[in-house]
């Protein structure tokens, strides 16, 4: 019997191999094939725009305040009717995230009063040095939507005076 034991074990092992040949594949051929991410996946940040092209970000720096890794740096400047980047008085003239520090926790999304910063689907990030890991505003900002104009825009006086969009229903 002792002679047969290895053979039995071998057969059992090969059976597993044989069975798995007909099972559905669990791996994908990355990077040729990319698996779609889950709905609540937290990837690279995106700075959103309104439909008219104005930036949602108002430079309030609440994301920077909420960031547990201290990865975000925001600096604000003042809008005017002639040179307008975002609704209201203030826009982010500098917006930087150090992606080596970022832990993709999504607190910045939560803190944002205008839903300007959103963690997107992009996860393919490579840097060759530390400086390159600091992404700037132009790398985060969303392309201008078809119906909108690029920023800065020239808007009429008295338009877009409010930074935070008015809420119809406060429970919203």
């Amino acid at each position: 019997m002792r002679v047969l034991e290895p053979l039995i074990e071998l057969r059992r092992g090969l059976w597993t191999t044989l069975r798995s040949m007909f099972e559905k594949q669990v791996t994908t051929q990355y990077p040729e094939h990319k698996r779609p991410v889950k709905a609540r996946f937290r990837g690279l940040h995106v700075l959103k725009r309104y439909d008219n092209g104005l930036e949602k970000c108002i430079g309030c720096a609440l994301c920077a305040a909420a960031c547990p890794a201290d990865a975000i740096f925001v600096e604000a400047s003042e809008n005017s009717a002639e040179v307008r980047y975002s609704p209201g008085d203030r826009y982010a003239s500098t917006y930087e995230i150090n992606l080596l520090r970022c832990i993709y926790c999504g607190f910045c999304e939560d803190a944002c009063p205008t839903e300007a910063i959103v963690l997107g689907d992009q996860y393919e990030l490579t840097f060759t040095n530390r400086r390159a890991a600091i992404y700037t505003k132009d790398m985060f900002i969303e392309p201008v939507p078809a119906a909108g104009k690029p920023t800065p825009q020239k808007t009429g006086p008295g338009m877009f005076t409010r930074s935070v969009p008015e809420m119809k229903d406060p429970s919203d």
Binding site: I58, A76, D89, E96, P113, K168, P170
Partner: protein, 824 residues
């Protein structure tokens, strides 16, 4: 001692003096009653209703007048309605409930009302993060509003009240703190309410708008973000900034300030100064600072600041290394020995001046103070001693202000004297012209320019004024240099000193100099002597080491001694046989003097280093570094020590604290003072700057030191009294031109702040309308004064046939002079 009253607040017993308001009594035992309109520095108005509390008082039997007892305790009757804690004074046996269901409900509902039309601006609001409305809403507000969001009222969000202050009408909660500050504290009623109800608006009724030199303080006490400064607007979020304690370097008051700094991409990643905030020191500036202190800080970060040492090579200034510059300078100084002169100004700190004095002494040379105001040896001897505080002066105190326009020269002293007068102090103003403080004075003594000292000498014998001076319990004399030069002010100081001599050493008594610079008093204490004839200095000396002074900029005539400026040498001067001196300039900027220098040593600004200033009240106060140093610049005391080291003289050049230790060991009036002592603090009232921003405003709490008043030097070290020299009395064709000080001038420390430009204007003189008419001139036209073209401004307070020439406004003027004025 006032009567003590015992009451119970939220179960805690507290004894406070009679007349105390409930809100303050509660604060003393750490109970915070929320307020918006109440401010501890101002009269209560009870407008916002946020402070309503339940108040119960013991029931008194009408027949017997006895307190009714119930179960062995006084029976307490609570009012049917809530009472405002900010207007109700305490009474014996009172019981206050600040956190009862009823009081809490009120706090919640008032906040709900305030928020009905308050915009959701917190993310962009400059106040966000240090906002009383935000904090109180978090602490006491309702979780949800019952009002309809669509019905929020909208109003203008960008209203410039003036050049310096912006109003956001939507954010205003109509607490009137700004209006009341201007009315009660600043005494400049330039703000007012307009219309009523929901339409209520804050307007300015001055031309130019918000014409007050204290306007910045309204943004500190504004409990919302309605008032913001043009300087800081959207500069940074409050929590992102670091704070460093400092002392304002603009005038002799020595206001305690906090410098807020931040690393900024706009400034190329450098740490920069974002704003200047007041820091509480109830003995110096309380919780206020003037607009010059708040907005004129930009010189420290000006792009034209010197960053590297420069030395003259083939007639041109060229970059050199520190080693080379120091070697060159030390070599020249060592060769010159007793022929070397150190010329420094009160812009430098005590430590810098001490090292410079040590260097001069070591060489056997002279240490001269660059100033046009004398009498420092007398303020050192008869100045105000420890325990002096303007805030304690009231009935029984006489304050005499001579030849000083405090509103322009030392704005915070103006505020404090105004308040002392309102408390009952006798304020006497002696000046040749009307100044703003006169409105609050009991007596006004008017003299002609030139008669200052004589007038003061005869003052004690005058009927009412003399009595007010001689019979006063406390007497403080402030003298300045309004219309005076070095000689005149020295003589005036001697006359003033006579009045206070017998009171020397008594707190709240003494002589105070209203100096032109922050640390002039310190320079006098350290043994610097003023120089009357600068020209002679440049004629005699072999090496002149100038630190923090611009004599050539102030008086271009001096250049005749310097060969690099051959084009400007008048014919007769070039005949002089003595070679021109070697000039070393230690400066922040390439001033006119620096342009003529042989070696320029870049110094650090007050924001970049440690040190201490001695205020006019002789209070030594520390300042701390806030931002990194510009380029290769070094602190003044370090440079001096390094020069000294080159020729073997050992001075402390590493730590400012050690310089102070040396000073304490060698200078009598600094005896025993150390940096540790200067950094000591005690509890101050009102409590500000803690979690309860709604109470005192965003003023910083003082955690870094209240400073120490120096000991008096028992015997005056200098010559003191110098009464010679007749007053100038020009003939018919000539005018008497006298120097005056203006708050905003064209000096480099103010002119570099773009915001203040509109308030400063260009070079001008002030004439009485009648005088101008005589010249056939109207306001705004040009005149020629001794070869300078100036704009004429009319001022009915100027004496006839006298021209007031503001200092540092483009016309060199050291003292009163006879001038020819004609239409240009």
């Amino acid at each position: 001692m006032t009567k003590q009253v015992t009451l119970t607040i939220d179960g805690q017993q507290v004894a406070v003096s009679e007349g105390t308001l409930i809100v303050n009594a509660a604060k003393q035992i750490g109970i915070d009653i929320p307020v918006f309109c109440y401010h501890p520095k101002m009269e209560p108005v009870g407008m916002c209703r946020q402070c309503l509390v339940e108040v119960g008082r013991p029931v008194v039997d009408r027949a017997t007048g006895q307190v009714v007892m119930e179960d062995g305790k006084p029976k307490i009757q609570f009012g049917a309605k809530l009472e405002t804690a900010c207007t109700t004074p305490v009474s014996d046996g009172m019981v206050v409930l600040t956190a009862s269901e009823k009081a809490k409900a009120n706090q919640r509902e008032i906040l709900e009302f305030l928020l009905t039309s308050h915009p959701l601006d917190c993310p962009v609001c400059d106040k966000g993060g240090e906002c009383p409305l935000q904090n109180l809403t978090l602490a006491h507000g309702a979780p949800a509003s019952r009002f309809i969001y669509d019905e929020k009222q909208h109003a203008d969000k960008r209203v410039p009240l003036g050049d310096l202050i912006w109003l956001d009408r939507e954010r205003c909660i109509q607490c009137a703190r700004c209006i009341r500050f201007q009315d009660e504290i600043a005494g400049e009623s330039v703000l007012a309410f307009y219309q009523r109800g929901r339409a209520t608006d804050i307007i300015t009724n001055s031309e130019p708008g918000f014409d007050s030199i204290f306007s910045g303080n309204t943004t500190d006490i504004c409990p919302v973000g309605a008032l913001t400064t043009a300087d800081f607007r959207f500069g940074a979020r409050p929590w992102e900034m670091k704070a460093a304690a400092s002392i304002c370097s603009q005038c002799p008051v020595g206001c305690n300030v906090t410098l807020n700094t931040r690393r900024e991409a706009k400034s190329g990643g450098k740490v920069v100064l974002k704003r200047v905030m007041p820091r509480q020191n109830e003995a110096v500036n309380e919780i206020w600072i003037c607009d010059k202190g708040r907005f004129a800080h930009h010189f420290t970060e000006n792009e034209h600041r010197l960053a590297t040492p420069l030395a003259r090579k083939d007639g041109k200034l060229a970059l050199v290394s520190w080693d080379k510059a120091l070697g060159l300078v030390a070599g020249k100084l060592a060769d010159a020995k007793g022929e070397a002169v150190v010329l420094a100004s009160g812009r430098l700190s005590n430590e810098d001046l001490f090292n410079l004095k040590q260097l001069a002494d070591g060489l056997g040379g002279e240490a001269l103070l660059y100033t046009q105001m004398g009498g420092g040896e007398l303020t050192t001897a008869y100045g105000v001693p420890a325990g002096t505080n303007f805030a304690e002066m009231g009935i029984g105190t006489t304050i005499l202000v001579v030849a000083s326009d405090l509103y322009n020269e030392a704005p915070i002293w103006y505020l404090r004297l105004k308040q002392a007068a309102e408390r009952g102090a006798t304020l006497i103003l002696a000046n040749a012209r009307e100044t703003k403080l006169e409105k609050y004075s009991q007596f006004v003594v008017r003299y002609s320019y030139g008669d200052e000292a004589e007038t003061i000498c005869g003052l004690a014998k005058k009927a009412h004024v003399g009595e007010a001076i001689t019979s006063a319990e406390n007497l403080v004399v402030l003298y300045g240099s309004d219309g005076l030069g070095l000689d005149g002010s020295s003589a005036l100081a001697a006359a003033c000193a006579e009045l206070v001599k017998s009171r020397a050493g008594k707190p709240n008594n003494g002589l105070i100099g209203v100096w032109p610079r922050a640390n002039d008093q310190g320079a006098w204490e350290l043994g610097f002597k003023p120089v009357a004839d600068l020209k002679a200095v440049f004629q005699k000396a072999n090496v002149v080491y100038i630190a923090g002074a611009d004599p050539f900029g102030d008086n271009p005539e001096l250049t005749s001694r310097i060969p690099h400026h051959a084009s400007r040498i008048p014919q007769h001067a070039s005949r002089s046989t003595h070679p021109a001196p070697f000039i070393i300039v230690q400066e922040l900027f390439l001033t006119e003097t620096a342009k003529l220098a042989d070696v320029i040593l870049p110094a650090q600004a007050v924001t970049e280093r440690e040190g201490s200033f001695t205020s006019g009240e002789r209070r030594a106060q520390r300042f701390y570094p806030a931002v990194p140093a510009r380029g290769q610049s070094r602190a003044d005391f370090v440079i001096t020590a390094q020069i000294a080291a080159e020729f073997g003289l050992e001075l402390e050049g590493r730590f400012a604290a050690r310089v102070m230790d040396k000073m304490a060991a060698t200078v009598k009036t600094f005896a025993g003072i150390s940096y540790r002592e200067l950094a000591e603090t005690t509890e101050q009232w009102p409590i500000v700057g803690r979690g309860d921003l709604y109470y005192g405003g965003t003023t910083y709490e003082n955690k870094q030191g209240l400073g120490v008043i120096l000991a008096l030097s028992p015997s005056p070290t200098g010559r003191g009294a110098r009464g010679e020299g007749k007053p100038l009395r020009p003939d018919e064709d000539h005018w008497l031109a006298v120097p005056v000080t203006r708050l905003y001038d064209l000096g480099i420390t103010v002119a570099t702040s773009a915001l203040l430009k509109a308030r400063t204007g260009g070079a001008h003189i002030l004439l009485h309308p009648d005088s101008a008419q005589k010249l056939g001139l109207a306001a705004g036209e040009q005149v020629e004064l001794n070869g300078n073209r100036l704009e004429v401004r009319l001022d009915p307070t100027v004496p006839v046939m006298v021209a007031l020439v503001p200092r540092s406004m483009g016309v060199p003027i050291a003292g009163p002079m006879v001038a020819k004025i004609k239409a240009a």
